[in-house]
């Protein structure tokens, strides 16, 4: 839809927003740190200083890409789902069950089964708020938030009482997954795990889905103008449900990839907000899959930077939160972007 100059302006605007948010973060560091320069350098340079940190950035970007895609799909359909967190738990949980408790399958059957269980779990859990919104008009923001709690509490109960590894002590988890099923390193000696390939594949699939299939077209149309879509003969309720189902599937995939790549089994409360980070990613990415790729890498870089800063200076890593918040606000400001467009695009047109 956006071509040429408009696209470049949009990108330039986002770059400016990123720059402004970083600048505000630096100002906070300058004002509160006793060693501001080493803090800033630890924040900006250290994440790229060695291959281990770069691997960590890639590993952190993997779940962000998947949840970012999950949220982008619903946002493009005009559905304000905040449910990726809950869907991620359900997907991760079912996938782990398949991994731990289904014995004796060859890997090439078992691994697809695990992924399928996770995807299906997330998708079905997403179908609940989807149906509630599409057919009963129940506000999806609240239902998804409520369902997040329900998912986290239910899985927490199950992992603490039913599926708990007796050896895991106070910190509940399932028995460890067979190492042969885990996502290994892509290149030996480099810490990035194979989940990256899954995430990149998902970016490509979602891109194709949104921009090169009729489902994607309907989905975007419903998001842009539900009335028009309805009169155009699109079954809006079906599209709404479908968008959250796809979103849930991606969130479920995020959960199981994080488990197979990082945690080696299902752990109680393993996500700590990955689903909500997905919302930030989608906002930064303007709900575009390619944008999600870039935004996840940048966001992961910022997260690793926050950690290296905490280690290498007197600043706590929460400084990054200030940057993240301003980033979200600047990038989402329609007034700023309308101003940029008016200033640079309609300059040639005679605006009265």
């Amino acid at each position: 839809m956006k071509t040429g100059k408009a696209l470049y302006l949009e990108l330039a605007g986002i770059a400016a927003a990123v720059f402004a948010a970083l600048l505000c973060g630096f100002i906070v560091i300058l004002l509160t740190s006793k060693e501001p320069l080493s803090a800033i350098s630890a924040l900006v340079m250290d994440p790229l200083a060695n291959s281990f940190n770069i691997g960590t950035i890639l590993n952190k970007a993997v779940p962000l890409m998947l949840t970012g895609l999950a949220i982008s799909v619903v946002f493009q359909a005009g559905v304000f789902s905040m449910g990726a967190e809950g869907q991620l738990y359900v997907g991760g949980f079912l996938g782990s069950l398949a991994a731990v408790y289904v014995p004796g399958l060859p890997v090439w059957v078992h691994l697809p089964l695990i992924l399928a269980c996770a995807v299906l779990g997330g998708a079905l859990f997403g179908a609940i708020p989807g149906a509630l919104k599409a057919y009963w008009n129940a506000d999806e923001i609240v239902t998804t938030l409520m369902l997040n709690f329900i998912a986290i509490l239910t899985t927490s109960y199950l992992v603490n009482n039913v599926f708990k590894d007796p050896e895991s002590g106070g910190y509940a988890r399932m028995p460890y997954i067979d190492p042969g099923l885990l996502l290994g390193k892509i290149v030996p000696g480099f810490s990035a795990h194979a989940g990256l390939l899954v995430a990149l594949g998902a970016v490509a699939v979602v891109y194709m889905l949104l921009y090169h299939t009729s489902i994607g077209y309907e989905l975007r149309l419903v998001g842009k103008n539900p009335q028009f879509a309805k009169y155009g003969g699109i079954a809006t309720p079906r599209v709404i449900v479908l968008s959250i189902v796809i979103s849930g599937a991606l969130a479920g995939l995020a959960g199981i990839v994080e488990i197979l790549g990082i945690h080696s089994t299902y752990k109680d409360n393993f996500s700590a907000g990955l689903g909500f980070d997905g919302i930030i990613i989608a906002l930064l990415a303007r709900n575009h899959p390619i944008g999600v790729l870039a935004a996840s890498l940048f966001y992961a870089y910022l997260q690793v930077g926050a950690q290296t800063m905490q280690v290498g200076s007197d600043m706590p890593r929460e400084v990054a939160v200030i940057i993240q918040v301003l980033l979200v606000l600047f990038v989402s400001s329609q007034a700023i972007f309308a101003y940029i467009k008016q200033k640079f695009v309609s300059g040639q047109k005679a605006v009265g």
Partner: protein, 312 residues
Amino acid sequence: MVVWQTIWSQIMDLTLIVVLLRFMTPILLTALGGLISDIGGVINIGLEGLMLLSAFTSIAVASGTDSWLLGVLAGVAASVLICYGMGFFAIRLKVDIIIAGFAVNIFGSGFTIFLMSKIYGLTGNYNPTGAPKIPLVDIPFVQDVPVLGKLLSGHSLMEWIAFLSVVFCIVLIYRTPYGVHLRAVGEAPQAARSLGIPVERVQYSALAWSGVFAGLAGAFLSNGLTNMFVKDMTAGTGFLALAVVLLGNRNPAGILIGSLIFGLASALTTIVQTIPGSPVPSQFIQMIPYVVTIAALVFFALRKKRRLEIAA
């Protein structure tokens, strides 16, 4: 069955009601704040973050100045200040109000940890010794009456403020010119503007009110219910409050009932958690409010649909 006996005995000696009142207070206050912003058409989902900011500010100031009142006021002021900032982004810079609220939540969680680390060098919780708490109200004579005493006397001042706030909100929303403006702006901002109502100013004030109430609730968490600040101590109360607004069908009396249900579930959860070997998992009791909220949402939506069908 140990559980039922314990719950029953706690009902009989009124402990359950005392605990219930204590737990419903922050939910009730925050939900009233959410209600005003909701009615003004500027839905504030940042209540969670506001509560955290207020909780930290109020205990820090209370322990620094040795005055609970200054603590509470500072907490409310911090919360209101952030609301104006949120308003600036949402109203002036046209950030979607949901996104602005979302940002406030991240900010509240992160910034309180940042401050705790920078000011006190602590990472998990801030537990000042001897910080003054919001006082309890002992009613003379009544406190000596057997049942009535326990029901009415000895509650935190903030619990009374919460109940009075329900009345205050009813008056504010339905009985004042401001309330008329508020509802007009929420229902039809364009029409309100054409009638000369200062729409932006009303929206800012609606957000500020939500900040006041979320601020009171946050101060109660750190300065009344407990005597410390723990990172992310709100643990979803702000989201519960959002749900209560809808559960209460967007009116103060309904919100009072909604808060009672949520408070009861929280109270039962704590009781069950303290009983070893309970047959009812605490997670499922904790879940009740969320399930009830979803059911209520569907119920209200269906009722609205039916009304529309009858009208058509």
